[in-house]
Symmetry: C2
DNA sequence: TTGTAGGCGTTATCAA
DNA sequence: TTGATAACGCCTACAA
């Protein structure tokens, strides 16, 4: 008697479910939202009707009144394989919930494209995870419109949005300590020109640790812009200069791999002429031609913690949280002298 | 007089715009949709009111009746930097339209997770671009529900959904011809175990070209599974076997880089002991330690063409289109003997 | 605990 | 060319 008499394959609505289960629409809606005040028997009746009819909630309709159960994940350019881990972790965190992650790519380097944020808000997303953005003012403004969690942004003192981060200070300290333990003293850092807080934090860790170990006279940060040619020029300058460093801590594996490339072309040996440490511990570190020591930040964990926090926020938590993940160092040949000098002992 | 008397900062609706511009809601809606039958004067009135009030369409509400102007982009695991190009191209293709791309990551290897597709359809997306999926039956089923374009799937004879592809047959031929031109004869291919049509296509190109050049006796395809350890074992087997090949065409740069790693560890010279050709021409090819010859398929172009076709589909095109992009080979040291043997002549 | 009746912002039909 | 208005599917007071 219900669901119209048209010819088109009509959508199954909450009303059809109600009719089939012989309950009211309100009841179905409540079951759907796991709202308070439904008897167990009613719940099971409704659930089986939904399954039987193959009912699927209409997100747009839900969005008109309530939640869409959609979370927006904004990533900067996605070339770093490390982001895949964040995504995976985030999805893990959503497992078993009704939430679905939808990803947008931010193509601006300085801030988050307003259009992208707006479009996610227009689409009634329930909350946002923004990775690698650093415009604090903008993030505050966004947080006033939607529950917000960020990754890769160390404005951790704010009281407006949650942050989840790698402990970048510690990351740099790990790298420096490892190199010093290995006998290196003249250790430089190859970084990028930006005002990203995450870079600043890592640079700070580098400088502080060098100072702490009495190596201030060797501390030197070289900053390049993002272009591959610039990075390689910077690497070449460092590796051929009169004050050539013994070791280089690089902002990212991607940069470290380029340094290895330049060193290779210059005929320099790694780690005998220069030791290299990267950051992110991407898959490429393991390859024989690189064997790159790198700091591992668990993208998976970062994503997972971000997901949890975002959902908590959506469910009403007001207090701000700032979570830090401890990195660990994965040592490979690029930073350890003499490992391959011992003839065949390793085999 | 309008827009309620509540306290909350109420959303600006089409109604507010209509009131401000002193026209009907229907008129505003038409302007918004660029529908037929609005005078220029009305259009400009409405546009300026929208700008003045900062009106933004409510996507959920639109989704109740019409389009959401949201396109779903489904990618397999995103670690291959090549996918970033597809995304960029797709976004380029959406520039200047009202459409917005939202990305979902498919974590299943064999087909597209039903949940992901459903959730995109539930969210009333207007069309889908699915990359790297190969379950033809499933794709047909999806195409019956939503306009669909695929990339990386050579079921090009179908009459149901559009395909945009790299010419994988030609890609393999390019690689083989290049190696043969360089004097190599014993050329093997390192591929993966799957039933992906795109792999089959590339394997076919390899085999056909080997045959065409009278090298059938050397044609050999070794297939590994995806695991890094498996790939490296396969590489080791090929490089140390009694019938060691002179050259290796690899399914992907990622695999080629691992082969280079294994060769490095075995103390083999590239290209003197073995030449390597990859596919995708990712950024890593350029690095000095790799200098990997690779087939470039323009991800950007693939994404762009896919976007155009998807929008055409949504606007009503019925006829199926199958578009092929021609790859080109980028030659580097990994496949060219003697380039470095000539002493300093290259400089 | 369950049911009824608007209403959310937009589109699209139909009449003016 | 323009305008009035009935849906779209769900949520949520409010009533029973």
């Amino acid at each position: 008697m219900k669901s119209s008499g048209g010819g088109r394959p009509n959508r199954i609505t909450i009303r059809d479910v109600a009719a089939d289960a012989d309950v009211s629409v309100a009841a179905v809606s409540k079951v759907l939202r796991e709202a308070y005040g439904v008897s167990a028997s009613m719940r099971s009746k409704v659930h089986s009707s939904m399954a039987k009819l193959g009912y699927r909630p209409h997100t747009a309709a839900r969005g008109m009144r309530g939640q869409t159960f959609t979370l927006g994940l904004i990533l900067p350019d996605i070339r770093n394989p490390f982001f895949a881990d964040i995504i995976a972790g985030f999805q893990d965190g959503l497992e078993g919930t009704q939430y679905q992650a939808l990803i947008g790519i931010n193509r601006s380097t300085s801030m988050v494209e307003e259009g992208l944020v707006d479009s996610m808000i227009d689409r009634q997303m329930d909350g946002l995870l923004i990775v690698g953005a650093n415009d604090h003012e903008q993030l505050i403004a966004i947080a006033q419109r939607k529950p917000l969690v960020t990754i890769g942004n160390h404005h951790a003192s704010n009281e407006v949005y949650d942050t989840v981060n790698n402990d970048d200070d510690e990351a740099a300290r790990l790298a420096v300590r490892h190199l010093v333990d290995g006998g290196y003293r003249n250790i430089a850092m190859l970084s990028l020109i930006t005002d990203s807080t995450i870079i600043k934090e890592r640079e700070r860790g580098y400088t502080d640790e060098m100072n702490r170990l009495g190596l201030s006279r060797f501390a030197r940060i070289v900053r390049s812009d993002q272009l591959q040619s610039s990075v390689q020029n910077a690497a070449r300058a460092i590796l051929t200069g009169p004050d050539r460093t013994e070791a280089l801590f690089c902002w990212t594996d991607f940069i470290a791999l380029q340094v290895i490339g330049v060193a290779t072309e210059l005929g320099l040996g790694i780690p005998d002429d220069v030791a290299i440490v990267g950051h992110d511990n991407t898959m490429y570190c393991d390859f024989g031609q690189n064997s790159l020591t790198s700091v591992d930040q668990s993208g998976r964990l970062l994503g997972l913690e971000a997901a949890r926090r975002l959902i908590e926020r959506i469910k009403g938590r007001q207090a701000t949280e700032h979570y830090l993940v401890s990195p660990r160092l994965v040592v490979r040949r690029s930073s350890v002298r003499n490992i391959l000098t011992e003839p065949a002992a390793a085999l």
